[in-house]
């Protein structure tokens, strides 16, 4: 389901993806996924790595694509699941666990919102042959909800609660996503920031720094708040 009129390259990936598959991904390409993904965020990371609990299930059961998300979902009385809309949560907050997590889980695709810094890509993603895909918008929750065909398991719901649990999702043409980092650790967001930066000085003509400064404030327009 490629978007009409977009000149962007579109890739359909079957999961789990091989390193050779990932090698073909270029930053700024559109990706759709078919196969198995699982949700895991700070709750799972902390429990698996810091509490030493290990992985909630085998690599075959969970898959190798980790989605930073808490679905708008519920567990029904008969044990089945209802998933409404899903939207990724901002990933930069989880950066500190990533190196340990990629080694422990074997994941080679991280899906989330807004990406991380290229430092993290170089130091944690590249050595583990992993890429980062970002959701789009970021409000495309209804489209993503459509791509989820089935929930095949929920792990650590009791330990961590529904929002933080590991949800295993069987997906089909799940997307759209944009390739934010490739196997070399390049970042699409940082590339775009660099393109925008040179125009900013002109824009700030006709403005004046506030009389009252704030602690921790920076005046470097190429800085980011993350």
């Amino acid at each position: 389901m490629a978007m009409a009129g977009s000149g962007l390259k579109t890739v359909h990936l079957n999961l789990p993806a091989s390193t050779a598959d990932l090698r073909k991904l270029e930053i700024g390409s559109v990706a759709y996924l078919t196969g198995r993904v699982f949700t895991a965020r700070e709750g799972v990371y902390k429990h698996a790595i810091e509490d030493g609990a290990g992985m909630p299930a085998s690599r075959e059961t969970l898959g190798l694509a980790n989605f930073h998300c808490s679905p708008a979902a519920s567990i029904n009385a008969d044990g089945s699941h209802t998933v409404g809309a899903v939207t990724a949560t901002a990933s930069f907050r989880f950066a500190r666990w990533l190196d340990g997590w990629l080694k422990l889980s074997g994941c080679n695709i991280i899906i989330g919102k807004g990406g991380m810094t290229s430092d993290i890509y170089r130091n944690a993603f590249v050595p583990n042959n992993a890429v980062y895909l970002t959701t789009v918008g970021y409000g495309t929750g209804a489209l993503l909800g459509r791509g989820i065909k089935r929930v095949s398991g929920v792990y650590w719901a009791k330990e961590l609660g529904l929002a933080q649990a590991a949800w295993v999702l069987e997906v089909e043409n799940f997307g759209p996503f944009l390739v934010e980092s490739d196997l070399d650790g390049k970042s699409l967001f940082e590339r775009e920031n660099e393109k925008i930066a040179p125009g900013l000085a002109k824009l700030y003509e006709g403005t004046r720094p506030a009389t009252l400064r704030r602690y921790g404030e920076t005046d470097n327009k190429t800085d980011e708040v993350i």
Partner: protein
């Protein structure tokens, strides 16, 4: 008398509409962005969002997986009478919020700030927020719900008269650029600016300006209206579009609301209402009629009055 059951039923309906149906004025504004956007990545994002709104309506599912923080704005006509009084009204709004969270479903986002206790219904201490306003010569009640998303995209700053328009421009740009990178604000957004008041008033006015005025509306003060146009324009000339990619789609519209402030200061707030600009309004009459709309009509000549006494503007009085 406006029946309590009608209030609860209507509030539930509003919660559902807000979560699923993007308001027409925002949709039209985003389509205009789609027509003028030249950045290929930013265009792609906007196109995906337009398809997402369709999918949400077709499937009757929430447009965004983060269903935000549901809150209420209540405007009460001076002659309106509510069955059970204001306490019954607040109970009806809390019930509707809880029921809709289970039935739409919405994400139970509301937790205790320290203990992270989640009632799984978006209701808790001081939640949902309910803000009130009043209206002369009216026997109806307007209920508006806003499902405000986004941990990013709002900021406050104490400026001073000497900072002037140049200081306003600077703080506005700082906020848009800071939160626009990587699309943390989920732009293109309706940007609200609150100017003046005391600190809390400034923040409230900015939020109301972004969430409760429709795209295309202008402040009745022509000089403020011109500043709204200017700020919209410079926001779209940052060079940044959707998700912080190169482009021109940052601001769908800019709204400014003002309040009289301390003679020494000029407090300012900036708020961004995201790609899921969710709001829905209904007017309930004592005879049982209910009219749904997407324009909250929150700001009026009455709410913006600057005099001691309320005197109807001449034009309206002559009608």
């Amino acid at each position: 008398m406006i029946a309590n059951s009608a209030l609860e039923r209507t509030a539930f309906e509003l919660m559902t509409k807000a979560a699923i149906e993007i308001p027409d004025d925002y949709l039209a504004g985003l389509r205009r962005c789609a027509d003028t956007e030249k950045g290929d990545l930013s265009s792609f994002v906007i196109q995906a969002m337009l398809e997402n709104y369709e999918a949400a309506k077709e499937d009757r599912r929430a447009m965004c997986g983060d269903t935000g923080l549901p809150r209420w704005y209540v405007k009460i006509g001076n002659e309106a009478r509510i069955e059970g009084g204001p306490v019954a009204l607040e109970t009806a709004l809390r019930r509707a919020t809880a029921t809709a969270t289970h039935e739409v479903p919405l994400r139970p986002n509301r937790v205790h700030p320290l203990w992270r206790t989640d009632h799984n219904n978006n209701v808790g201490i001081n939640a949902p927020e309910i803000e009130y306003a009043f209206h002369p010569d009216a026997d109806w009640i307007d209920l508006t719900t806003v499902h405000k998303g986004g941990l990013f995209g709002s900021d406050y700053r104490m400026l001073f008269p000497g900072d002037g328009i140049e200081g306003i421009r600077r703080f506005y740009l700082d906020t848009l650029i800071g939160f626009g990178k990587r699309g943390l604000a989920c732009q293109p957004a309706i940007v609200g600016v609150g100017l003046g008041g005391s600190k809390d008033t400034s923040v409230v006015l900015g939020k109301q300006a972004s969430c409760l005025r429709v795209v295309g509306s202008r402040n009745p003060d022509p000089k403020i209206a011109a500043l709204e146009d200017e700020l919209k324009e410079i926001g779209n000339s940052i060079g940044m579009g959707a998700m912080g990619f190169m482009g021109s789609s940052m601001v769908v519209d800019c709204h400014i609301e003002v309040g009289y402030c301390h003679t020494g200061g000029m407090p300012m707030s900036v708020h961004m209402f995201c790609l899921s600009s969710r709001r829905s309004t209904a007017r309930l009459y004592p005879d049982g009629r209910v009219e749904f709309r997407t324009d909250p009509e929150w700001f009026t000549d009455y709410s913006r009055r600057s005099t001691v006494e309320w005197a109807q503007p001449m034009a309206e009085a002559a009608e």
